[in-house]
Amino acid sequence: MEQYSSKVMEHFAQPHNVGEIENADGVGTVGNPVCGDVMRLYIKVDNNTITDAKFKTFGCGAAIATSSMVTDLVKGKTIDEALQISNAAVAEALGGLPKVKMHCSVLAEEALKSALDDYYKKKGIPSPVKMPAESGHEHEME
């Protein structure tokens, strides 16, 4: 396995935006403890703009770092802008991820989309959110 970048280690050691948002406008939980990663993302939306984002994550270094990064990235963005955030963008912002950990960035994108989906649902608006296709692990040989 490749090593984590220093940016990943930074976000893992001192993750930003850890926590819950009471009465969040959107909450998304994705992943599966069996696979080793569960992410929960909370967003606060004000006037179509994401004013706050927090997360809780059960997972590896990359899972925590991508959670930290994706919450950083969405803050201040409009809903439409947030919907454009891809897993590749999250990984890139972290200076790259080891190949076998790319699924963590996919999970971060999913968590965000799931929180946005929840936001639409809560608002009673039909959700335009499309969940990313690839979401499983890349299983390498033992």
Binding site: A13, V18, P33, V34, G36, D37, M39, F58, H137, E142
Partner: protein
């Protein structure tokens, strides 16, 4: 300047070579560098060194020198045993019995043989990783050519009832191999008492060097060479001998033979201190493996609601080096097959730490771990959605 304490608790992964082992090896790189196959003095010198190492390795497990075949790793020894014994004795039958908790270096060769037409019975362990000898007895058929059950499990530390199984296989006239890679140097291993026909060991697992290992094959038992084309190892395993590493293995065996009782006593008492200390300080902890029939240096615990790799990485920042059964720390991204076979819940398995002590582990080291680990677990739990759900549920109930 503050020097950070370094606590290496991953002796099941590998051990440092003992300083006396390195000292014994050193002359064989440049001064006494001969090839044991050669007739001249440098060759003789190397040959004598290899034979001396063979005698010492044999002595550690109560074998005869001519029953020791050197290889390059525990993995190679296991491949050699499984494929070599099955292929050389296939006229007897084509059925193999293994346990589900074997190392992959046993399981994968077995899978290869299965593809080549062998039938395989895989015995499941109980909750503590223990294989019931009666189940082995029941599984043996007229077609059974080989039973392979590990001496101890490298993850959960459970010691298997090899002697009992050995009695059964001898009675039924079936070959019996045991993977003792995790055991040799940590608990007594005596091939005569165990009644095994073949046994794997690996030097780097008990203060010898990497690159040196052995397969014991009882005199008279046929085995098909897997690395062919050399006269070395009595024609059973070709390749120029790794003379310095074999000398190192011999030295490590010599040291282990003497140190073993003290080693076991000291390490198991520190192991108990660590286990008790963690249990007192950290709630929601599960101890995996057998409470008493286990390797003296093995601690395998699952911390619920947190994931192993992140614990491992935070411990690493504090200079504490451990392994994890987590899916994320394995290259296959699957959590430990051993934990899953003993019925550990998959989420719990992902929160597993494997801590294996060594001869250099001190009481202060354990104190340091007991100081650093609980806040790491607590911090990660506070970051965990699984823990959040449990806390909320506990509040409401």
């Amino acid at each position: 300047m503050l020097i950070m304490r370094k606590v290496y608790l991953d002796h099941a992964a590998t051990t440092p070579a003992h300083p006396k082992v390195v000292e014994a090896m050193l002359p064989y790189f440049t001064g006494k560098f001969g090839n044991p196959s050669n007739l001249h003095d440098p060759g003789r010198e190397a040959k004598n060194a290899v034979e001396d190492a063979r005698a010492k390795t044999a002595a550690l497990i109560n074998a005869r020198p001519e029953e020791i075949f050197f290889t390059s790793s525990g993995t190679e020894s296991n491949n050699f045993a499984i494929k070599g014994l099955a292929q050389a004795n296939s006229q007897k039958g084509n059925h193999i019995i293994v346990s589900q908790v074997e190392h992959f270096s046993v399981l994968h060769p077995v899978k290869t043989l299965e593809k080549a037409g062998f039938k395989v019975t895989s015995i499941s362990p109980d909750k503590e990783g223990f294989i019931d000898p009666a189940e082995v007895a029941k599984a043996i058929t007229k077609e059974t050519v080989l039973v392979s059950i590990m001496h101890s499990n490298n993850e959960i530390g459970t010691l298997q009832p090899i002697e009992e199984i050995g009695k059964i296989t001898r009675e039924k006239g079936v070959l019996f191999h045991t993977d003792a890679v995790a055991s040799v140097g940590w608990v007594p291993v005596d091939v005569a008492a165990l009644g095994v026909d073949a046994l794997s060991l690996s030097a780097h697992q008990f203060y010898g060097p990497k690159g040196a290992a052995a397969l014991f094959v009882r005199k008279g038992v046929r085995i098909k060479p897997q690395i062919e084309g050399g006269v070395q190892e009595d024609g059973r395993r070709g390749g120029t001998e790794n003379v310095p590493a074999l000398v190192g293995l011999g030295k490590a065996a010599e040291i282990a033979a003497v140190d073993l009782p003290a080693r076991m006593k000291q390490i198991s008492s520190l192991r108990d201190k660590l286990l008790t200390g963690m249990g007192e300080r950290i709630p929601d902890m599960i101890v995996n493996g057998h409470p008493t029939r286990r390797l003296p240096n093995n601690v395998n615990v699952s911390f619920l609601y947190v994931e192993g790799e992140s614990m491992l990485l935070f411990l690493n920042m504090d200079g504490i080096y451990v392994s994890s059964g987590s899916a994320c720390t394995s290259r296959s991204l699957k959590s430990s097959h051993v934990l899953s076979c003993i019925g550990t819940d998959a989420a719990a398995a992902n929160g597993t730490l494997l801590m294996t002590l060594g001869t250099g582990t001190s009481g202060e080291d354990i104190d340091y771990v007991l100081e650093k680990l609980p806040p790491i677990v607590q911090r990660l739990r506070e970051m965990s959605p699984l823990y959040e759900d449990v806390v909320k549920k506990r509040k409401t109930s």
